[in-house]
Amino acid sequence: MSSMEPSAQIFEFRREGHGLDIAKMTPYQLFVLDRMSQLALTAMDMGAPRENMVKDAADSLGYAIGRACIKDPDWVNALVDHYTQSHQPQAQQLFGVSLLEALHNALMDNEASGQDSRKVLMSMPPAWRRLSQAPDPAVRESAYQSLCSVADLYARGSVEQERFVYVALALDAVKANWQNT
């Protein structure tokens, strides 16, 4: 989920631009669009003719989700809750993991710019704990990689910003227990 402004606005969040508003989509539609654009990118990587619009669409979707993380983290957090449940199919759980990671990254930017996002940040460790017990090993592995990346980011951030210390500690605790599961 990129924070770089995309070159084309195919998707948007809450009428910020001219594309399809992801805030009006159901969670499943959003997942399907993400999955489709990933598969289309795969097709191009494997030799299908390059089409800028497909790359633009994927970038734009990532950017719109990034904007959602910043403008309405509760909305994204609810999606994370929805998708990280173990009864969801594997691809949807993996989408939940990527949303959770994107949310952490965006909130760190928010915090750095002075917005207080601690409430949302502290509500996320339960999602990581749930993922640490995911029955599907592929989901657990992917989630662990994401957790390591996020925990590392917050550990580094906590050196300069004291408020990140609590999040970094909470993430470390999940990580430590994960290794024990």
Partner: protein, 183 residues
């Protein structure tokens, strides 16, 4: 965010559905979704990506919505197809316009019996493809359009056996097909 929990896990397009409405989408977004869907199908069909029910579901939902839109708002879909096949459009857009025309024309013929009250829609079919045979110049687009024309013409041929009123259009369409390569 209670609506997240309440939303049905459905994905459909269409004026009466709960999904994204193809008629409300800006034409470019509709085109991009179509291309994304076509490429994702290609990834799955060629074995590059694992079989994924989402891909077929998405593609069928998009096609279904365009069929529904063709029947409920023919003027709008015809207008979209016309603007995408304009000579100044890039080949990708033109091919999408051709696909829209194919879908538009076959949608009406797949209704049983064909509703002849929409004679103006049906009567315009040969002239539409005749125009495309003259205005499309890109070889790849022409090849794609010829395939679409064959699909429409063969359906006309079949349906006109039961509904004789469609025979003149079927004959005219067959003539366009014959003359395609010399147009």
């Amino acid at each position: 965010m209670s609506d997240v929990q309440q939303s049905a896990p459905k994905f459909e397009f269409g004026p009466n559905g709960v999904g994204l409405n193809v008629l409300e989408m800006p034409p470019h977004e509709l085109f991009v979704l179509h291309r994304v869907s076509a490429l994702a199908m290609k990834a799955v069909d060629s074995g590059v990506a694992p079989r994924d029910p989402v891909v077929r579901e998405f593609t069928e939902a998009l096609t279904g919505a365009l069929v529904q839109a063709s029947l409920e708002n023919p003027g709008r879909v015809y207008g979209l197809a016309t603007s995408y096949t304009a000579p100044d459009q890039p080949p990708g857009e033109q091919l999408f316009g051709v696909k829209l025309f194919e879908l538009f024309h076959t949608s009406w013929l797949n209704c049983e019996p064909v509703n002849l009250d929409v004679g103006h829609v049906l009567a315009g079919v040969p002239s539409t493809w005749g125009r495309l045979s003259r205005t499309l110049t890109n070889p790849q687009v022409r090849a794609g359009a010829y395939e679409s024309l064959q699909a429409v013409a063969s359906l006309y041929d079949r349906v006109s056996l039961d509904q004789g009123e469609l025979a003149p259009a079927a004959v005219a369409l067959a003539r366009v097909e014959e003359n395609w390569h010399t147009a």
